[in-house]
């Protein structure tokens, strides 16, 4: 089976063009692909579309908020486009307020379901989330069994950046606890999936097929995180307060 192991993050992101759309995994520090983001920051691609839970964060050593601060993002699809308190306003907010960057905000369940629809060949779906809110103003609605739903469309992406615990050389993945979050769905939804590995990259045949969390057919490039200081690890101290 194809060996998908790359030896460096810089090599793994080298071909990402300006204008690419990228799903960025993680929920808080767990599962956040800091090393891929770090390499992309070095690589220089710009005019990016980012699809992620929240795009403003700069808590980790490399996060999507850093790409935003570098003015290399044109649009973010997310479930958080402002911090809870105006006192924590970020460059992300400045850029969206001024119109320099676009942010499309949606419910978190809608965000992940739109990714899953893209992965699964679902053309559109109806959800109750956001019905009656300003997010649904221009959206098609429909009453089904007496309840009102809004119509939502798939979110595709050229790339997914995710993090997992263990991979085999073909890209079968296992996640550790809440490292999982959006990552398996992004792996299925994006055309090309890049994975940074906290644990080990093992030989094909070493993973119980019953407990593969993301099948290797959804994965294109896997890279082992090197020891610090070269490798960026996820520490509890990365948490935003």
């Amino acid at each position: 089976m194809k060996n998908k192991v790359f030896n460096s993050f810089d090599e793994a992101v080298a071909d990402i063009p300006d204008g690419a759309s990228i799903m960025v995994g993680g929920f808080g520090p767990p599962g956040l692909p800091q090393n891929l983001l770090g390499a992309l920051i070095r690589q220089g691609a710009t005019d990016l579309t980012i699809i992620t839970n929240r795009g403003d964060q700069t808590n980790a050593k490399a996060n999507t908020g850093h790409l935003v601060e570098l003015r290399r993002v044109k649009k973010v699809y997310c479930a958080f486009s402002a911090s809870p308190h105006p006192s924590q306003a970020s460059v992300f907010e400045e850029l969206t307020e001024s119109g320099e960057m676009e942010a499309e905000l949606m419910p978190q369940g809608t965000l992940v379901e739109r990714m899953r629809a893209a992965a699964s060949g679902i053309g559109a779906f109806y959800t109750q989330a956001s019905v009656g809110t300003e997010l649904a103003i221009d959206k098609e609605t429909r009453v089904i069994d007496g309840k009102t739903y809004v119509l939502e469309f798939p979110l595709h992406a050229d790339y997914a950046f995710i993090r997992a615990d263990t991979s085999d050389t073909f890209g079968n993945l296992q996640y550790d606890l809440t490292q999982r979050n959006f990552n398996p769905v992004m792996a299925m939804a994006a055309k090309t999936t890049l994975v940074e590995i906290e644990g080990e990259i093992i030989e094909v045949g070493g993973m119980d097929p019953n407990n593969v969390h993301t099948p290797g057919i959804f994965v294109d490039r896997v890279i082992k995180i090197p020891p610090a200081p070269e490798g960026l690890w996820t520490l509890p101290s990365d948490r935003n307060s």
Partner: protein, 225 residues
């Protein structure tokens, strides 16, 4: 009783009052911030299963400092612990739990709640962006939407309103609200005040409430038992 005896309820008391009504075996989703205090209530032999948006089902208390597992957070990005019997699912399956009606109760914070059951907790005035997270999905999917919030803003403006002024999170879903001044049910007729912070009179609470309060004939002092 003198004015000196009169104190708004503290946040733990507010949340414990809601937690008192959780039933054995319920699946609960606690919003970030104040609502997480619900889990500090002493449930005795009742077993509550905490679920969070990032796919964690059945988590336990906060991790002690220095003992955090780097890959184990709840939806508020607090480092938590695992209880025996917990399970991890991906984010899509996690919102199956939420939108699919498996959550028996969600307790959320809010800026405003209206007497028609609308609430507003994702966007403050004058800002373009907001923070939704899982709140809109929880609001339409959970069996019970309960709110814990201060009775008035820092500027003293009422939060229990006739209609929400801020952009709403969901329409007509709130069933119960606890504030530092009392416990309120949302009824077809409006807010029913069932319990009141000790030392307060209904008139005093009404004075800082925009919506007209219905005072329960059984109005009692709010107490945690």
């Amino acid at each position: 009783m003198t004015t000196a005896d009169k104190k708004p309820l503290d946040r733990q008391t507010m949340c414990s009052r809601l937690a008192m009504e959780f039933e054995d075996g319920w699946i609960a989703n606690l919003g970030a911030g104040m609502p997480t205090l619900c889990s500090n209530y002493d449930f005795k032999d009742k077993d509550i299963i905490y679920q969070s948006e990032n796919g964690l089902i059945g988590y336990g208390p906060l991790a002690k400092e220095g003992e955090e597992h780097p890959n184990l957070v709840n939806a508020g990005v607090q480092y938590v612990t695992l209880r025996p019997g917990s399970a991890i699912v991906n984010h899509a399956d996690s919102f199956t739990v939420i939108r699919g009606g498996y959550v028996n109760v969600t307790v959320l914070g809010s800026y405003e709640v209206a007497e028609n059951g609308d609430f507003a907790n994702w966007k403050t005035s004058g800002r373009k962006g907001g923070g939704i997270g899982g709140a809109m999905d929880l609001a339409v999917g959970a069996q019970r939407v309960w709110i814990a919030m201060e009775h008035v803003t820092r500027d003293g403006k009422p939060r229990l309103l006739k209609r929400c002024a801020l952009p709403v999170t969901a329409v007509g879903v709130v069933q119960r609200v606890v504030t530092d001044l009392g416990l309120f049910d949302v009824t077809p007729e409006g807010f029913l005040m069932r319990e009141i912070a000790p030392g307060y009179t209904p008139e005093e609470v009404q004075a800082v409430t925009e919506a007209r309060l219905i005072i329960s004939p059984d109005l009692k002092p709010l107490q945690v038992t």
